[in-house]
C-alpha cells in the first residue's frame, strides 16, 4: 500500500527533522536509497522548485515527493504525514509551553541536535555537488581525469559563490533570482 508507506516515511521525517529549512533534506536523501521513489537529480530539482515557490521548504518538498510517488493523493498524504508529528507533539506540550522551553534537558539535547542537523545537511549537499559539478559516469567509462569535471558547471558555481557571498547588493537577494538566472544560463550555454 503505497499511500501508507508514503505517510509513514514522511511521518518519520517530521518526527526527526530538527531545525527547519533544509532539515528534511537528509531524510529525503535517505528515501532515494531506501525506496527508489525518485532520484538524486530529482531531489536537487525539488530543492530549486521549493525555494522558488511560496510555502515552507519542508512542506514543499514533501508535496513534491508525494506527487512523484503517487500523484495528487500522494502529495496530500506526504504533506499530512510530515505535519502529523508536529501537530501531535505541539498539542501535547502546548499546556506546558514555558516549562518545555526552559527545561534544561530539552536545551541540552538541542545543543547536540543543531550541529547534527548541519552535518546531515552538509553531507546531503555533497551528493548534490556530486551530480551537479562532476561527470562520474563519463569518468568511469573513459578513465580520463578531464572527463570527471563538469567545467561549465564549476565555472557557474564559482560565479554564483562570488555573487552570493561577496557582492554586497546581491547578497541579500532572494534565492529565486539566482535560481532563475542559473536556469537562463543553463539554456543559453546548453548545460
Amino acid at each position: 500500500m503505497i499511500y501508507l508507506r508514503l505517510f509513514w516515511e514522511f511521518f518519520k521525517t517530521g518526527l526527526f527533522a530538527v531545525g527547519g529549512g533544509l532539515a528534511t533534506l537528509p531524510f529525503l536523501d535517505r528515501m532515494v536509497e531506501t525506496t527508489g521513489w525518485f532520484t538524486h537529480a530529482q531531489l536537487a530539482d525539488m530543492i530549486a522548485v521549493s525555494e522558488s515557490t511560496p510555502g515552507p521548504i519542508g512542506v514543499n518538498m514533501a508535496t513534491y515527493v508525494g506527487y512523484l510517488t503517487a500523484g495528487v493523493p500522494g502529495s496530500v498524504i506526504a504533506t499530512l504525514g510530515l505535519a502529523a508529528p508536529s501537530v501531535i507533539i505541539i498539542l501535547l506540550i502546548a499546556r506546558a509551553l514555558k516549562a518545555f522551553r526552559d527545561n534544561k534537558y530539552v536545551d541540552a539535547a538541542f545543543y547536540g541536535l543543531r550541529p547534527c542537523s548541519i552535518g546531515l545537511i552538509a553531507a546531503a549537499g555533497l551528493l548534490v555537488v556530486k551530480i551537479a559539478l562532476f561527470h562520474f559516469d563519463a569518468y568511469k567509462l573513459s578513465g580520463a581525469l578531464g572527463d570527471l569535471f563538469n567545467w561549465k558547471a564549476i565555472a557557474l558555481a564559482a560565479l554564483l559563490l562570488v555573487l552570493t557571498r561577496f557582492v554586497k547588493p546581491l547578497k541579500k537577494l532572494h534565492p529565486i533570482f539566482f535560481i532563475l538566472g542559473s536556469a537562463l544560463v543553463g539554456v543559453l550555454f546548453s548545460f
Binding site: 517530521g14 522548485v49 505541539i90 543543531r114 547534527c116 553531507a123 549537499g125 536556469a183
Partner: protein, 180 residues
C-alpha cells in the same frame, strides 16, 4: 466555526506569502496574527516561534499549530496547520505536474542542470549561516564533524544521528564540556 475558517484563511495567507519558511515568515505572521486578528501579542508570537524551533518538524507547521490551538483548541491547531500547508500542496502539485510533463525537452534539461549548480551554492550558503549559530565550541564541532563524515562514508539513517546527538548534547552538558 467562523473562527476556524478565519484561522484557515489567515494561515493559508501566511503559507502563500512565505518564501522558504523560517525567519521569512515572522513579518507575515506579525501582520496576520497580531495586527489583523489579535490572536497573540508580538511577544507571544516570538515565544511560539522559539518553541517551534526546538520541537521536531517544520517550523511553520509548529508555529501554526501553536497559534491555532491557543485560539480555538485542538480543532484550531489542526485547521491552522492545514491552512499553512494548503497553498504548498496546490502550487507544488501543479508545478511538479508541469515539470514531469516537460522534463524531456532539451532546454528544460539544460535549465535544470544549471539550476542544480545553483542549489549546491544555496545549500553551501545555508550551511555556513546555520554553522554560525550552532557550532560555537569544540564539542559542537566534534559532533558536526562526526555526523558529516559518518554520513558521507557510511549508509546510516539520519534518525540514528539525531537520537545519538540528542543524547550527546545532554551528556556533554552534564560533563561540563559545553561552551569550551
Amino acid at each position: 466555526m467562523k473562527q476556524l475558517w478565519q484561522l484557515f484563511l489567515a494561515f493559508a495567507k501566511v503559507g502563500v506569502m512565505t518564501f522558504g519558511g523560517g525567519y521569512a515568515m515572522i513579518p507575515i505572521l506579525e501582520r496576520e496574527i497580531v495586527d489583523n486578528h489579535g490572536w497573540a501579542t508580538n511577544e507571544e508570537l516570538m515565544d511560539y516561534y522559539a518553541v517551534g524551533q526546538c520541537t521536531p518538524g517544520v517550523i511553520a507547521v509548529n508555529t501554526a499549530t501553536f497559534i491555532g490551538y491557543k485560539t480555538a483548541g485542538v480543532p484550531g491547531g489542526v485547521i491552522a496547520t492545514l491552512g499553512v500547508v494548503f497553498p504548498s500542496v496546490v502550487i507544488i502539485t501543479l508545478i511538479a505536474g508541469l515539470i514531469t510533463r516537460f522534463a524531456d525537452i532539451p532546454a528544460v534539461k539544460s535549465a535544470f542542470a544549471a539550476v542544480r549548480v545553483c542549489v549546491c551554492v544555496l545549500i553551501f550558503n545555508s550551511v555556513l549561516k546555520l554553522w554560525k549559530g550552532a557550532v560555537k565550541d569544540k564539542a559542537a564541532l566534534v559532533l558536526f564533524l562526526a555526523v558529516f563524515l559518518l554520513s558521507v562514508f557510511f549508509d546510516i539513517s539520519p534518525i540514528v544521528f539525531v537520537l545519538l546527538c540528542g543524547a550527546a548534547g545532554i551528556l556533554f552538558t552534564k560533563m561540563g564540556v559545553r561552551g569550551k
